[in-house]
């Protein structure tokens, strides 16, 4: 799996002459664990949505395994490059019905064992599958939505603040599961993820690379340790200092 972003640009929703971001050139390869960080409104979610072809972009070329997005079938693209939204959307029906979504969409046998294993891993092992999904708490829904997407066995997961409603314990179990997931293979191919997070601890724990978005572009791409110990730009330094202060205040 190789996803190439070549000079990707996106204009702002309300004014077509202004750029939300521009000139993003990067590559995502097998075993990449990327933390995508940056202030609010920089277009991090938009970038992930573009990568999974849920949003159009205004300039540049996107290629998956050498094939450009415009020449690809969007369905098979999204099966390989899967976006998991921050706000979980439950289908109206039971927990089990939600878990069966992928097998129902693609006419595949439902892998119940796998689903149970994932549910167990994110701390939902005791959840009754007949319960209405809408009755779950926000944090439970967020985890169920993740498991539902994991059932797709995609090669690249695009995770949009998927632990934002979770308590520290559940957060860690999700991190553990995804680290385990990324070290496995999907149909013989190595996997990767890009994870938007505002949590520096989490970024350190789960990622081997950091992408930092600021000033309408991808300002830094670096190894995780290098980025945190010695950021190359002033903006990144300030951003890290800001998040650290926030954390100290919370504690």
């Amino acid at each position: 799996m190789q996803l190439k972003l070549n000079d990707i640009s996106k204009s702002k929703f309300d004014s077509q002459n202004q750029w939300l971001f521009r000139g993003i050139t990067a590559e995502i390869g097998p075993n990449d664990r990327i933390a995508l960080i940056g202030g609010s409104g920089q277009g991090k979610s938009t970038l992930l949505r573009i990568l999974s072809l849920l949003e159009p972009f205004d300039g540049g070329i996107l290629q998956l395994d050498g094939q450009s997005s415009s020449a690809s079938n969007p369905q098979s693209w999204r099966k390989k490059v899967t976006y998991v939204a921050q706000k979980p959307v439950m289908r109206s029906g039971s927990v089990g019905f939600n878990l069966r979504t992928v097998s129902e969409l693609h006419n595949l046998p439902f892998q119940e064992e796998l689903a149970r294993r994932y549910m167990e891993a994110v701390g939902l092992g005791q959840t009754d599958w007949n319960k209405q999904a809408a009755d779950l708490s926000g944090g439970e829904q967020q985890r169920l939505a993740l498991v539902r997407s994991l059932m797709l066995d995609s090669q690249l997961l695009l995770l949009d603040e998927i632990t934002s409603s979770l308590d520290p314990g559940s957060k860690q179990s999700v991190e553990k599961l995804l680290l385990e997931w990324v070290s496995g293979t999907a149909n013989g191919a190595n996997k990767a993820y890009v994870w938007i997070t505002h949590d520096l601890e989490q970024a350190r724990a789960i990622c081997n690379q950091v992408w930092f978005m600021a000033e309408g572009c991808l300002l830094e791409k670096a190894e995780t340790e290098g980025f945190f110990s010695n950021p190359a730009t002033e903006q990144a330094r300030q951003f890290i200092a800001g998040l650290q202060e926030e954390r100290v205040e919370k504690q």
């Binding site: 959307v89 979504t101 969409l105």
Partner: protein, 255 residues
């Protein structure tokens, strides 16, 4: 009805205009335009029908029905102007419904193949189907906002457009058919339909009028179902961009 009696009907409009002025509703101009247009349009169609009934040429019947379909498609399409190509799809759906229904009506000799029957019944079919189209589109527009998250989630999991929009489409088809079905339940108890009333006023036997009305009610039910089905099937793709993304939301309309 004598000309004098016809002119006297203007007093009903005067009541509406008077109330509008008294209550400062600001609708006088609208009422005036509405009065003028309905009088002119109806008189015009009266003379056209008079002419068509006399000549009884099939080409005129076809032209009138086509005009009905085009005007109805244009009108219903205004509900979803931003969806490119929706008006032609509505026209196709209306034409299918009209074609199938007329084929059954004429094929089984339920009505006689004369303009006196074909044109009014076509008007009823196309008119009510137009309302069904409008309801369907209105509902779909709302679904595109309320069920957007669900549709995007399904797309993200690799669903096809049809799979992603299926639930919304089903809800919209249902919603568009409910008024027709409800109408079937209360007809005769609550409302006396215009056609039946018209026949009775014109001197027909009420039982004979009712037989025609029963026919019309059943035709309306089937045409509502047919229109909603066909339109939803041939138009669902229009809510997506070509790479299976949802169309962007429209900015809210100014009141």
């Amino acid at each position: 009805m004598s000309n004098m009696a016809l002119i006297c009907t203007v007093c009903f409009v005067a009541v509406a205009a008077f109330i509008s002025m008294k209550q400062k509703l600001g609708l006088e101009k609208e009422i005036l335009i509405g009065t003028f247009r309905s009088a002119v349009q109806l008189l015009f169609i009266g003379y056209v029908l008079h002419f068509v009934f006399e000549t009884s040429h099939p080409a005129f019947i076809v032209i009138i029905i086509l005009c009905m379909i085009l005007v109805a498609a244009w009108n219903a399409g205004a509900k979803a102007k931003h969806v490119r190509g929706i008006r032609s799809r509505i026209a196709i759906a209306l034409a299918c419904t009209e074609g199938v229904t007329m084929a059954i009506l004429l094929g089984f000799r339920i009505i006689s193949p004369t303009p006196q029957y074909i044109i009014p019944v076509s008007g009823i079919i196309v008119g009510s189907s137009m309302i069904v189209c409008g309801l369907l589109l209105n509902h779909m527009k709302r679904e595109m906002e309320t069920a957007r998250g669900e549709m995007e989630m399904l797309l993200a999991l690799g669903a096809t457009e049809k799979q992603a929009i299926h639930s919304s489409l089903r809800r919209s088809v249902r919603a568009s058919m409910i008024p027709t079905i409800d109408g079937m339940k209360t007809v005769g108890l609550v409302q006396l339909p215009g056609m039946m009333t018209g026949m009775i006023v014109a001197g027909a036997d009420p039982v004979e009028a009712v037989r025609y009305q029963i026919l019309i009610m059943f035709v309306l039910a089937s045409s509502a179902a047919m229109t909603a089905m066909v339109l939803s099937l041939i138009s669902y793709r229009l809510w997506f961009a070509k790479d299976a993304r949802l169309l962007p939301l429209q900015p809210a309309e100014k009141p």
